[in-house]
Amino acid sequence: MDSVVQLQRQLVDYTVQLFNEGFLDDQFNQLQQLQDESNPDFVVEVVTLFFEDSERLLDELAKALEQQSVDYTKIDAHVHQLKGSSSSIGAQRVQKVCIGFRNFCEERNIEGCQKCLHQVKREYSLVKTKLETLFKLERKVLAAGGSIPWPM
């Protein structure tokens, strides 16, 4: 088993990488700070909520775009939700795509919307994988007896 220090190092490096690549932004830091002894799993809980919410929204979006007569207001509402939640946890890239998505909605550009949906799905799955890896690393560190060196 890797030593605690090495694991911590890995965790730090990974997190830094995520920030550098724009997957996460400062809001994620804020979330981490909200986590303390009284609230030890705050980040994981919120992120899990985000995953559930986002998957639901993405399904809805896919369905809505397949309709004959596309209801842009509904799509806009969904995208707005997704944007809100992604910004709340600091999923920067998802949020950015949502902004573009909303523009296309306003223009009632079906192709643009579909492209954005693809993009959003891709970004979402990327950030999901990354965050899951992050949490795994965290668990490893905790299992090895170390503490999570938040915040960065």
Partner: protein, 847 residues
């Protein structure tokens, strides 16, 4: 002369009377000569004088003429005829003109030196000139003839006199000389004019040349600047690349040698970038393109930053580094913080470089005070007080920060103490006065005093010259380029001040500069980017501390830093005195000794004092029979060895040692650790030191968060809970309405704007309607609430949460009855401002 009787004629004219000189013509018949006869007859007829032709006179045989006048017997009628004239003739009067002797006598004087040849002619008959005088052939200088008419009185005859020089007049020397002189003068004048013209032409040419050269020089200068800028930009880009890569490299796993190498490379790279920046700065300053900002900033925090830069280096060298800012210096001043930091960094950096022992002391005073200080010093000198070399026990021979002598007498301890004591005592009055000077300029004087190697006297004149260092070997030994001070000088002068220094070789140097800053009201600063300025923790306000330090200057610095945290501090010079003052609980010694919560002991004082004093003291306290909290004892040290640390722990000092140089934030952190206050979180980005403000505002308040998004609800709730609030969530406008049915228990509500079914505005409108209905009902009724027994109007503060704060429709929010808006996700500054309007920070916790 032969005389013969004249021939028989009709008339005779014998000479009757004659002048003695011509007596030989007596009784001669004038009419005997034909010409004479005609003359006489004519004269008789016309009544006018008549001249003969020139002829040889009888006596002298000179050429001459005879002039004959008729004499009439009786009165003639007014216009007589010739016949009447002839009738009336009585006789004749004649005169002989000896032309030759006449001319010679007359002209003898005229001739002068030169012989003048005169020719007199009878030119009655123009074709036949009769010579009366002169040679037949005209010789002599014919070039210059002067002709004049002679009038003997006979209208019939004309006579002409021609004068000429016998010889050509020799070249008249006067004329020649004059001509020559004139010529010469003319030449000279001509030459002068010519010279002047040439000069003008030359000057003009020179001028044109200079202009051209000037253009070329300016162009060259511009080119040089451009070149420098381009080159340094070109250099900087790859340099930044190198540094970036090194930073990344250092983030990876490296062996210690690898890390060492990489760090060295990084240091070198950073130094190179610094050098380029310095050179560019110099360029900018010279080109006059440097502009100073005018933003509000906090001097004390800038000095803290600079101190932290150098704290490790100075600690390694064993130098005491300290900062003191006079109370009279306002908290916020308007100026250019970056450049100010640059100057201070440069001066302190120099001091750190060139000092091996002793101290580096930075002092900031108001300029007026500084001047007053020097006056005081002068007066004390006059009074015969000697401030230097006071021989006290131990190593402290001089009253300075470290005990080593400092170069500048004027900043000696006595003067310093005089003013700092004044300031510490008269706190309140000063604050009042500074508030009244709203936006005047304030002049500050900053002194950086060190006990280093000093500047050799010969080099002192060149200190501020760029690229010049004190000694050619300085760069080798100490590093540096030599630009720093010249840049600092330019910056100081741009700030409206002056920089100067006093340096004594092997004693130390004191650099001082003045600068002018603007002032601004504190509120203005608070509204601006307070995010960057992390406020000092306020949890220590009101604490009392006792500082034990034998060195008065150092103790004052410590007291200043504690004061910044709001801690009142007293100073004693040894542990014994401390024990004495604290032991007697409540005894009224002079000045009213306070009961300290913490005791800060300077390591030097403790070590030079007696061991085990603290334990004696503790005993003393117990003996008094009072049970009170033992004040925590903390050690202050520049550096500390392990053995000293163990000893300190054994003597009762806490685990935490406050390391010098003192910085307010660091002291606060250490005190936090010792006193167990504050959060356990380490100092990091985003740690809201201002969270203490928000905490005091929100602690215990019951807040309703309304948002249709689960994630947002969780995050918002989590954030608010962190500040101690009680949070409940609602997932729609409708649900919120239900919860906010009156009477409700909530202190505030955060409402998302965009929600399906009922958006934030609508919900707020309904809530307000509900409230106004209830308020109307309340009129006249006495409302008993859970918390207060006062009459209360229902109005819950509702704040909108919006992701787009910039474009938030403020009007719409207000129209629907909201009280403001905050950003989503929460930003602390924003949140604090919005919430502060409703919640009084000093309100007590609700049960």
């Amino acid at each position: 002369m032969e005389r013969e009787p004249s021939a028989i004629r009709d008339e005779y004219a014998p000479v009757i009377f004659s002048q003695e000189t011509v007596s030989y013509i007596e009784s001669l018949d004038m009419m005997s000569g034909e010409e004479d006869r005609e003359n006489i007859l004519r004269a008789r007829a016309t009544g006018k004088a008549v001249l003969t032709r020139p002829f040889r006179l009888l006596g002298s045989h000179h050429l001459g003429v005879v002039l004959t006048f008729p004499v009439y017997k009786s009165k003639l009628p007014p216009s007589p005829t010739a016949a009447q004239r002839i009738e009336a003739t009585a006789g004749y009067l004649g005169g002989a003109f000896d032309i030759e002797s006449l001319v010679e006598n007359l002209l003898g004087q005229l001739a002068g030196n030169q012989a003048i040849l005169v020719n007199v002619y009878d030119i009655t008959n123009s074709s036949d000139l009769l010579i009366m005088y002169g040679h037949q052939n005209l010789d002599g200088d014919l070039s210059l003839l002067h002709e004049s008419n002679l009038d003997f009185g006979d209208p019939f005859r004309k006579h002409l006199m021609i004068c000429r020089y016998h010889e050509k007049a020799p070249a008249s020397w006067t004329a020649l000389t004059t001509v020559f002189l004139f010529f010469v003068i003319g030449l000279l004048v001509g030459y002068i004019l010519y010279g002047a013209a040439i000069h003008i032409v030359k000057v003009e040419d020179g001028f044109h040349e200079m202009q051209e050269l000037k253009f070329r020089a300016e162009a060259a200068d511009v080119t040089k600047s451009q070149f420098l800028a381009t080159v340094s930009h070109e250099i900087r880009t790859p340099m930044n690349g190198i540094l970036g890569m090194l930073a990344l490299l250092l983030d990876t796993d490296l062996s210690s040698t690898q890390r060492d190498y990489a760090q060295t490379a990084q240091v070198c790279g950073k130094a190179l970038i610094a050098l380029i920046n310095e050179v560019l700065d110099r360029e900018k300053i010279e080109a006059g393109k440097l502009e100073l900002e005018a933003v509000p900033f906090d001097i004390r925090s800038i000095l803290d930053d600079v101190l932290s830069l150098f704290s490790e280096k100075s600690r390694n060298k064993g130098i005491e580094l300290a900062v003191f800012v006079s109370d009279k210096v306002p908290e916020i001043v308007v100026g250019d913080p970056g450049r100010f930091r640059q100057i201070i960094t440069n001066l302190v950096g120099n001091s750190v470089k060139f000092t091996e022992r002793g101290h580096i002391f930075i002092k900031v005073h108001l300029y007026e005070n500084a001047k007053a200080m020097t006056d005081t010093k002068v007066s004390t000198c006059l009074n015969g007080g000697s401030n230097e070399s006071v021989l006290t026990s131990g190593s402290q021979k001089f009253k300075t920060l470290s005990g080593c002598e400092a170069a500048d007498d004027q900043n000696s301890w006595d003067v310093f103490r005089h003013f700092s004591d004044e300031e510490f005592r008269s706190d309140a009055s000063i604050n009042v006065t500074t508030n009244n000077e709203a936006s005047e300029d304030v002049g500050l004087m900053v002194c950086v005093e060190d006990t280093g190697i000093g500047i050799p006297l010969k080099a002192q004149g060149r200190v501020f010259m760029p690229f010049v260092q004190a000694d050619s070997s300085t760069s080798r030994h100490y590093g540096g380029t030599g630009i720093g001070l010249s840049i600092s000088k330019c910056l100081v002068e741009l700030m409206g001040g002056q920089i100067d220094f006093i340096s004594r070789p092997d004693v130390g140097s004191t650099f001082s500069f003045t600068a002018v800053f603007g002032t601004c009201k504190k509120n203005v600063f608070n509204n601006m980017e307070k995010r960057n300025a992390e406020a000092l923790p306020s949890g220590f306000r009101g604490l009392k501390a006792l500082v034990v330090d034998g060195n008065p200057v150092r103790a004052t610095v410590t007291r200043y830093h504690l004061k910044r945290l709001g801690i009142l501090a007293e100073v004693v010079s040894s542990l014994k005195l401390a024990a004495g003052s604290c032991g007697k609980n409540g005894s009224l010694t002079s000045g009213g000794k306070i009961q300290p919560d913490i005791i800060l002991v300077e390591k030097d004082s403790w070590i030079s004092g007696e061991d085990g004093v603290s334990s004696v003291w503790q005993l003393d306290l117990k003996q008094n029979g009072h049970t009170f909290k033992l004040p925590k004892m903390i050690l202050l040290a520049t550096n500390i060895t392990n053995s000293e640390f163990d000893k300190a722990k054994g003597a009762g000092f806490s685990d935490t040692v406050i390391m010098k140089p003192l910085r307010a934030r660091m002291v606060a952190a250490c005190l936090q650790q010792v006193l167990g206050m504050g959060k356990k979180r380490s100092q990091g980005k985003g740690i809201p030191n201002g969270s203490s403000f928000l905490q005091s505002l929100l602690c215990g308040k019951r807040i309703l968060v309304v948002d249709d998004n689960r994630v947002n609800r969780r995050v918002a709730a989590g954030a608010l809970k962190k500040f101690g609030a009680d949070v409940e969530c609602a997932e729609s406008g409708k649900a919120a309405l239900k919860l906010l049915q009156l009477p409700h228990i909530y202190d505030a509500c955060f409402m998302d704007i965009q929600m399906p079914e009922m958006d934030g505005f609508e919900a707020t409108c309904l809530i307000r309607q509900m409230e106004s209905r209830a308020n109307e009902q309340m009129n006249g009724e006495y409302m008993v609430e859970e918390r207060t027994a006062r009459k209360v109007q229902w109005h819950i503060p509702i704040l909108a949460m919006t992701a787009d704060v910039i474009h938030a429709t403020h009007d719409k929010c207000l129209k629907s009855g909201m009280d403001g808006y905050v950003s989503k996700p929460f930003e602390e500054e924003n949140l604090y401002q919005a919430v502060a309007r409703f919640f009084d920070p000093k309100s007590t916790l609700k049960s």
